[in-house]
């Protein structure tokens, strides 16, 4: 009687839990839409700025149900380096834990769930109409249960409806109430954005569109302070196509000065449908569909708290490095319901989707999946950039309701991770400059560390580029950076790629990890089908570098910097292709290993493994990680 379809829908709640010309001196290569002076650190050759575009605060139901009290203003302060009190909260309102970044972020966006601004506000604002409704009372008393009820209604079905307490006429009452948190998010972003030319921090105005039935979620990020009066939620726009139409009509067309992009995330939990090659009518994509898609979504979040979405060993068997922070279920609901567990399908992952984009490009003349890369945290503590593996407090309240003590044991499910960072190559740290980097996809993602990665492609990049002092100048002048298209092919020859990586310089007392190797991942189309190959191009994949899992001490050879120039040996001019670089650090302890060691869990001595720490010794628990960076690709079109 209960088909998988209905179970999925019932539990769909989980969707919530859950080509550059160098600028001449004196000119900006990006358009300034804000009245700001040029930053003092302005550099025409660009610098990587590190940020987090996926942050939840108290206005996200699935954060506040776990005791998160962080306001958008406090999240910005945290990103700038201030300490923040986090749950559990004592009876006197004093937090029992503190979190603080070892180094500030350059930019961040608070992305609370748009669907629940109104509802959450009503349920937690005494006196708001609806405060005393059964669902709100349930929310305050048994928030985890309410989560399933509320999200099951609002975010988890293909056709969400508002709760009755939102009133008639499309839930106008909840939409109006949403103006509270939405306004506060905008104000917080404005206050944290100093106009001083030091340009220390850039906050973006954003929200999360939480569409279902599986994870179809997008973070919607605005270029500047010109934003619609209310966010577009999955109640008004039930599909991604409707979201894009809404962004077009309510922002780009309807509001002069408004610019926006949407960033899909957790395709690993989308049940294979995040990147379907179907249009709004369910028909095969037409070229205008492909163009609409890519105008709205030039980027994808490749890694975050709930897993990496680059690739899967199930579908990229030859690449064992795909076994990195991967989840063994393909939808969020399957985490809770074993019978829903299925092998992850290829279309959940970015690498196969880049290939599908090439296939569609050959068919349509437009690539719907021309995706640049970045990563973020998806923190539900309101703690942007909290990515350290050591001293990781989890990204939620361990699922425990407001006011309760934290449970013994791991404070995050063992398969989750601290998430990653978004990196933008930009002349300066301002909204206009960073947003321009997002649009041209000159971005990369990391699993947390701040390595500095350059990736250029061209036809005649010099073989000795790494030995000169003009790597960057030549890269821009004779090639294209990450996110770009190779220029039309000249006679003969295969494309050349230059990759350089500097290790994370670290913080006092916490040096960055050494680099193990550089790779180029190539995806191409052969006889109408996408193929993939991974090339080790620098460093030593067989190095003796290792980590002692008891002490977490690292040892062995590694590089402070790696640089090489690589020519594709299998290039066929008639085949569409896409290339991206992957940078790997030496192995280091995973967050869970730090926590398990701290707790004295010795898997050889079962008596030492106390309640809540059992996952430390589960056979499939990864104890070390190879932190990494993924660059945006460079495309070749015949």
């Amino acid at each position: 009687m209960f088909s998988k379809y209905w179970i999925r829908n019932l539990l769909a709640a989980g969707g919530l839990l859950g080509g550059l010309a160098l600028p001449t001196f004196g000119e900006d290569s990006f358009e300034r839409t804000e009245d700001r002076t040029r930053c003092e650190h302005y550099d025409a050759l660009r610098n990587p700025f590190f940020g987090d575009l996926h942050v939840h605060t108290r206005y996200s139901l699935d954060a506040s149900t776990q005791g998160t009290r962080t306001t958008p203003r406090e999240a910005s302060s945290f990103a700038r380096g201030a300490p923040l009190g986090i749950q559990p909260w004592g009876g006197d309102g004093v937090p029992e834990r503190q979190a603080q970044l070892r180094r500030p972020l350059d930019f961040a966006a608070v992305t609370d769930h748009a669907e629940l601004f109104g509802e959450t506000y009503l349920c937690t604002t005494p006196g708001a109409e609806g405060y005393d409704s059964l669902i709100c009372a349930m929310y305050r008393r048994w928030p985890r249960l309410a989560f399933f009820f509320m999200n099951g209604r609002v975010g988890g079905t293909a056709n969400p409806v508002r709760h009755r307490f939102c009133g008639d006429e499309g839930g106008e009452r909840c939409r109006s109430a949403a103006a509270g948190p939405w306004k506060e998010m905008q104000d917080a972003a404005a206050e944290a954005y100093d106009p001083a030319p030091e340009c220390r921090f850039t906050p973006f105005v954003a929200y999360e569109w939480t569409g279902g039935p599986t994870n179809m979620h997008r973070n919607v990020v605005f270029r500047n302070a010109v934003v619609p009066a209310l966010p577009t939620s999955a109640v008004e726009a039930t599909t991604a196509w409707q979201l894009w139409d809404s962004l077009e009509s309510e922002c780009r067309q309807g509001l002069p000065g408004c610019e926006v992009l949407a960033i899909p995330h957790n395709s690993n939990l989308s049940g294979g449908v995040m990147f379907e090659s179907r249009n709004a009518e369910g028909e095969p994509l037409r070229s205008e569909d492909a163009r609409k898609r890519i105008r709205n979504e030039p980027l994808v979040e490749i890694m975050q708290h709930k897993g990496a979405s680059e690739c899967s060993v199930a579908t990229s068997a030859a690449d064992e490095l795909c076994d990195f922070e991967s989840l063994d279920y393909d939808t969020f609901f399957a985490r809770f319901v074993g019978i829903l567990r299925e092998e992850p399908v290829a279309s959940n992952f970015v690498r196969p989707i880049l290939g599908e984009g090439l296939v569609q490009q050959d068919r349509l003349g437009a690539n719907p999946f021309k995706l640049g890369i970045l990563a973020s945290t998806d923190t539900h503590l309101g703690t942007p950039g909290l990515v350290m593996e050591d001293n990781y407090p989890g990204h939620g309240g361990a699922g425990v309701a407001v006011g309760k003590r934290l449970p013994a044991g791991l404070l995050d499910p063992i398969e989750y991770n601290p998430g990653g960072l978004a990196v933008a190559w930009s002349e300066e740290n301002s909204r206009d400059a960073l947003y321009a980097a997002f649009e041209r996809r000159e971005t990369y993602g990391t699993s947390g560390p701040r390595m500095r990665v350059r990736f250029f492609g061209g036809w005649d990049l010099p073989e000795d580029l790494c030995r000169g002092s003009d790597f960057v100048e030549t890269g821009y002048a004779r090639g294209v950076p990450m996110g770009g298209d190779l220029p039309p092919r000249e006679e003969g020859g295969a494309p050349v790629f230059a990759v350089s990586a500097l290790r994370d310089p670290g913080t006092p007392g916490h040096p960055g990890g050494l680099l193990q190797r550089l790779q180029v991942v190539k995806v191409w189309v052969e006889e109408g089908e996408a193929r993939e190959a991974v090339f080790d191009i620098a460093g030593d994949p067989d190095s003796d570098a290792t980590v002692d899992l008891d002490s977490c001490r690292v040892s062995g050879e590694g590089a402070e910097s790696l640089c090489t120039v690589w020519r594709d040996p299998g290039f066929q001019p008639s085949q569409s292709a896409v290339y991206y670089a992957r940078v790997l650090e030496n192995p280091s302890c995973r967050w869970s290993t730090w926590v398990c060691n701290e707790a004295g869990s010795d898997c050889a001595d079962p008596g030492s493994v106390t309640t809540g720490f059992e996952p430390c010794c589960a056979p499939d628990t990864r104890r070390s990680v190879q932190e990494r960076a993924w660059t945006s690709p460079i495309w070749y079109t015949p």
């Binding site: 003092e40 650190h41 550099d43 604002t125 708001a128 009372a137 500095r452 006092p508 040096p511």
Partner: protein, 284 residues
């Protein structure tokens, strides 16, 4: 059974359910379980709820319940629940509810009034929009929080080995070459860096380098200074010390923090006056 009988059964059923919900969901510790007839039993109010009680009483004293749209809607809805067949207009129902004292029996009304009273108290304390002078004073007072860090503009030549860097520096010092022609080892970092803070410098060349760079003598080649990637010879072109920002550089942030502080103070002061009047001053 007639429709009316069904309605009666539904009413009883719903009433029973609501009673159970009230007993189970909302008991023990829930703010919604606080005594509704507390107006005459002040001593029974738990210390943690006294402020709320004071605010509620003050709201009633001022008649806020008589002119509030949410209260009005709520009371009309309650009346229609009690008398589903009524033919009275909203206004008449509202007056009837007030006559019956329903505004003193309803948890939503109570919380609405408490929240509104808070806002009223804040708004009654004249927080005049601060002038530039006031914000400036606040900025000076809170200087550390808003300070703009020192910056340095320098040029660096990277060497993989410290020894090679030291030799190159010795060469320059002996007058054999002027340094500007010196190449060092390749590193994809700009040789000439823009004006940077210590944090920005640490992001490029590492925290150890950033910690030392500000102490280097400007106007000459110095080093080698260890970086995260090797060793650099450094020429400091320009240093600017930490400074207090001009107000215009941080006005919105200053204003936001200033306002949040003033509002909290205003509320506390007003509450204290009410506490004293109620005979419940805050514990010293």
């Amino acid at each position: 059974m007639t429709r009316r009988r069904y309605a009666a059964w539904h009413f009883l059923l719903l009433g029973g359910l609501l009673f159970l919900v009230q007993k189970t969901l909302l008991s023990e510790g829930s703010p919604m379980s606080s005594a509704l007839d507390g107006l005459d039993s002040m001593e029974q109010v738990a210390p943690g709820q006294r402020d709320e009680e004071i605010l509620y009483r003050e709201a009633l004293r001022r008649g806020l319940d008589r002119n509030d749209a949410v209260v009005r809607q709520r009371l009309i809805r309650n009346m229609r629940f009690l008398e589903p067949e009524t033919s009275l207009e909203d206004e008449a129902l509202y007056r009837q509810a007030l006559d019956l004292g329903l505004d003193r029996e309803d948890v939503v009304v109570r919380r609405r009034l408490v929240e509104r009273m808070r806002r009223v108290l804040v708004s009654e304390t004249p927080i005049v929009k601060p002038g530039t002078a006031e914000l400036q004073a606040y900025l000076v007072d809170q200087g550390e929080r808003f300070a703009i860090p020192a910056r340095v503009r320098l040029e660096q030549i990277h060497f993989d080995e410290a020894e090679a860097a030291a030799q190159a520096l010795a060469q320059i010092r002996r007058g054999e070459g002027d340094g500007r022609a010196l190449r060092g080892d390749p590193l994809p970092l700009p040789r000439k860096l823009p004006s940077l803070s210590a944090r920005e410098l640490a992001g490029r060349l590492g925290p150890d380098f950033a910690a030392r760079a500000f102490a280097l003598e400007p106007g000459r080649w110095t080093g080698p200074v260890p970086t995260s990637y090797g060793h650099s010879l450094v020429w400091v072109h320009e240093r600017s010390p930490e400074r207090s920002p001009e107000l215009e550089e941080v006005r919105l942030r200053v204003l936001g923090e200033w306002r949040a502080e003033r509002e909290a103070e205003a509320l506390e002061a007003a509450l204290e006056r009410l506490r004293v009047r109620a005979g419940w001053p805050a514990a010293p």
